[in-house]
Symmetry: C2
Subunit: 648 residues, 2 copies
Amino acid sequence: MNVKITEDFWKNYRNLVRKEMIPYQWNVLNDIGGINIERERADDTIPNEKSHAIENFKIAAGRTKGEFYGYVFQDSDVYKWLEAAAYVLREDDDEDLRKKADDIVDLIAEAQQPDGYLDTYFIIKEPERKFMTLRESHELYCAGHFFEAACAYYAVTGNKKVLDTAIRLADCIDRHFGAEEGKLHGSDGHPEVEIGLMKLYAVTGEKRYLRLCEYFIGVRGECHKFFAEQDEAEKGMTPIFEGMRHADDTYFQIQEAPVKQSTAEGHAVRQIYLCTAMADLAREDGDEELAEACRRIWRNIVDRRMYITGGIGSTVNGEAFTLDYDLPNDTMYCETCASVGLIFFAKNMLKLEAKGEYADVMERALYNTVLAGMALDGRHFFYVNPLEVDPEQSRKNPTKSHVKAVRPEWLACACCPPNLARMLASVDDYIYMEKDGEIFVNLYIASEAEFSINGEKIKIKLETDYPKSGSVKLKVEKNGYKVVNLALRVPGWADNVYGQIDGAEEKVAQEDGYWHVYAEDKQTEISLNMPMYVERNYADTRVSADVGKVCISRGPLVYCAESVDNGEALQNIELLENAVFKENFEPELLNGVISVRTEGKRIVERGNGQLYTHKKMYDIEGQSIKLIPYYAWGNRGENEMRVWLREH
Amino acid sequence: MNVKITEDFWKNYRNLVRKEMIPYQWNVLNDIGGINIERERADDTIPNEKSHAIENFKIAAGRTKGEFYGYVFQDSDVYKWLEAAAYVLREDDDEDLRKKADDIVDLIAEAQQPDGYLDTYFIIKEPERKFMTLRESHELYCAGHFFEAACAYYAVTGNKKVLDTAIRLADCIDRHFGAEEGKLHGSDGHPEVEIGLMKLYAVTGEKRYLRLCEYFIGVRGECHKFFAEQDEAEKGMTPIFEGMRHADDTYFQIQEAPVKQSTAEGHAVRQIYLCTAMADLAREDGDEELAEACRRIWRNIVDRRMYITGGIGSTVNGEAFTLDYDLPNDTMYCETCASVGLIFFAKNMLKLEAKGEYADVMERALYNTVLAGMALDGRHFFYVNPLEVDPEQSRKNPTKSHVKAVRPEWLACACCPPNLARMLASVDDYIYMEKDGEIFVNLYIASEAEFSINGEKIKIKLETDYPKSGSVKLKVEKNGYKVVNLALRVPGWADNVYGQIDGAEEKVAQEDGYWHVYAEDKQTEISLNMPMYVERNYADTRVSADVGKVCISRGPLVYCAESVDNGEALQNIELLENAVFKENFEPELLNGVISVRTEGKRIVERGNGQLYTHKKMYDIEGQSIKLIPYYAWGNRGENEMRVWLREH
């Protein structure tokens, strides 16, 4: 499968990755130039004047002398950059970037120890504590990110050294961890190595990596004991990650065996990374029990613990899931990385079983929270993606201090921007899926793709201006005689869908969220029309934060109100139950968006200054309300924003 | 002025103080019996299996050997107990209690150092750091509580030793602190000594204490420098109070000179204690500039930063004020101590200038948040007083972990229960006020009082079953010839008020919230009728948490809904705009309350399990709604509670 994106909406984002994020992050990782690194939490005690990530590798490689500096998981920033660079190079082989990436590979290989071990913190600072503090060390977490980067970079460039380095590291881990006597019987406090091992297995075909992934997932239910033993052995020593030891079991995803799990718990990114690997392993092994666990957790997230924006994680404390229907709009976490992870999980669920709803959630997370994670300039990033923000409250109420109203330039704990970069740079991987000889179209992104199925070449040209409209045209070309089976996703948000094949109207019969069609002729033209209306959305009334409120969407895009368009005090804006909405494409607004306008109401205070009165001290006046896509909020300076508005 | 409460509502609370709180707290302070001391915060690292407060004094006095144990401000628990005991003894001189209190006084005097210094932490544990760590040490804070206790106990019992001990301590502090060269130029991180010094001045007439209070208030604007110097000198030493050093200036009330302040900032208890002393000093000194500051801060609290329950402090982080109109109902703090402090502040504002609105707030805080701070059994206490709680959310969402749905038996940081005890035991001090020859009636609590004004004896018998009804009768008896001037507060909540004097209808003319009347005859009977209706309350629409919501009150009592009466998911309950309310005295319910019933609505979920839908998936059905007084919530097991309900 070879995919080339041809449309502006995504090309723009990918250009930002290429022209802004990759060079910018390169500078950050290399401590070049002045960068305002912002603390994402007021109580953050990690120094953050610089990244030092590449410097750590240079010190570990013996090229320079110095001390390790930064978060213990800093290496992963370099790996994520390398992975993103690989995807960028896949699209356009830029010589300078290739050179930088090759140099990084050389540096990483140089830093690797003779036994394959690789983690600059422990190489430089505390070699005697290698694999001794798995609760906090992030050693396997970093390794997992390296495996992902290595597989991507090898696939694109054929660089053998990166793959060999990864194999040496994987073998080193395999020698140290496992059920066998003499090995360590535990896993990492932060799932990720499992994802990387599955990818390394896919590239190398080495079954040991598959089994090691299986081991790391299965052993989590027993990790409490393992961590407690490591804690005991480390007693009196300075923690690798101050304070983390006091987090509860769900934070580390060790509260029970994942295969037994029914609800999404604890640290959202860790949970969702774990699920990503579980779904992949369940498919590879045909493990129906594990697949059931994945389905249960999926249902729990999607039916009870996910924001309408595809955000997950209802509290900043532990960056965690909380309980069913607990979805506060103003104190939540909704980390960008967690929604990136939700897309990974959805993709692997799709590979496990082609059901359109997985792609629906993928689309929801991608077009809303993930895109919102980055400013339109590609240089500012949200870690936390609120559904409601008042900048004054964020400044002055510490319960909301993690909720920023404007994207900071960079973040001390820099997991989100590189995660965004690799997501956006590889979005072409999420459009199509080959499964059992059928081509599934999951995302409607204008593109040209080539497939080779059973030895036959198939070309698809997907034309659309989605998400502006829901009209999609697929031109399918093939040179063989076999029928090409295609499945076009019919999104959950779509209604009154109609299709055409070679100009003839076709009923869009849906099965598990797909319209299955086939192309017999050398050239077939398939159209799918999903009319995009402005839609109201209501939450299950068990979500107390959303009772009496409505959220507007159009196609896959969730809309929001900003005070720059609607005046301050957005709590006083009301949408009418019988509102008429006007859509208007505004090419100059926020890189070109369809704004939504309607006549609503505004509560206007007429009080005498008394805080509480027996009578209502306000008038209700008409107000023109303007809404913009959520992904584009916070790009016009600091202002209030709300996704859920009161309905009158 | 000599006041004796004669009615059941308050007698019951005072009996709880006498029969439950005082003996119970005595046991706690003495580590007698098994007590479930609960951590009020999940991240609390202070050990809390025992109090050790009296034991600390015994060690300091040399009676036993051992180590200091507990919070650094633990001494204040003993002082608050002594103060409460004094008020209890004033009402009924119980020999056993007097003996215990006298013994405590002996113990405190014995623990005092030859130079007058008194603080068991520093005497026992780190004598070399006396007065070296004022940001965290609470030395002057504890001293302030001792001054208050000493003044109260001396006034009731004439115990000279307690006053002498207080004077020696005050003189010691006076020698160490002040503007003069060689003295320490700063104050305590926690205001309180200022209140105590004003009381000590009132009892002794010693002007140095007045001036020292003035110094401690005035110097706060310069304390940042002072604290920074002390921090510097202490560099590398173990903090007295781990983590506190990182709190911001408003936490310590040192952000600016109090006389310049316009808004209530930082730690709510600290702010309100400071204001209490400021108002007292402004009155004593006739300092109009300071009085203006008090008025500004008062207005800011009452008009913009106070909950309808009289709770203050909008965030758990720093237990602090946040910003205007930021009054979230479910994540707030509303510490019991802060509302006790608000009553102190109100009382001193009344003494400064007799305006009924100060007493209105006093009444609001007392009858709602303060009473809610204690269970009806007198043995369980809230630290945090929410306006909305869902026990499941409190358990599983750490952002709300500080919000308890049931009162714990005791608290590790035991400031609230003893503060409640001294408040409830001295509520008779808040009923009447003599000012400029006039007798003000601020709270309507059935009582008998004797006054001596200009040498003439006046007796007042106040008859009422307030807050059940708003009918109040004052029987005024005097033996002299002078006219007795009286001022009866007409509460802000009251409407259609009418009065009688000796059976003749009188227009209730109001001036600054009072009805001024006079008694010429030997016996005069004055009636004030304040009809109590069930009233709706609406918040200023800038309070985003309360938009579209209504709160029900009756007289001074705020009402709330509990799920034990109304079923779960209180977010789905709606009060009707045109609701008819029925009041019903239920003698068996919660020690006898007037419950309020009305026919309202309930949203009933009819969804298919999908979290978000384009159509409303619920029905609206009729539901009988029952409300109870807020002060009595949480006494029928764990359940949901809401003060602000959605209005339909």
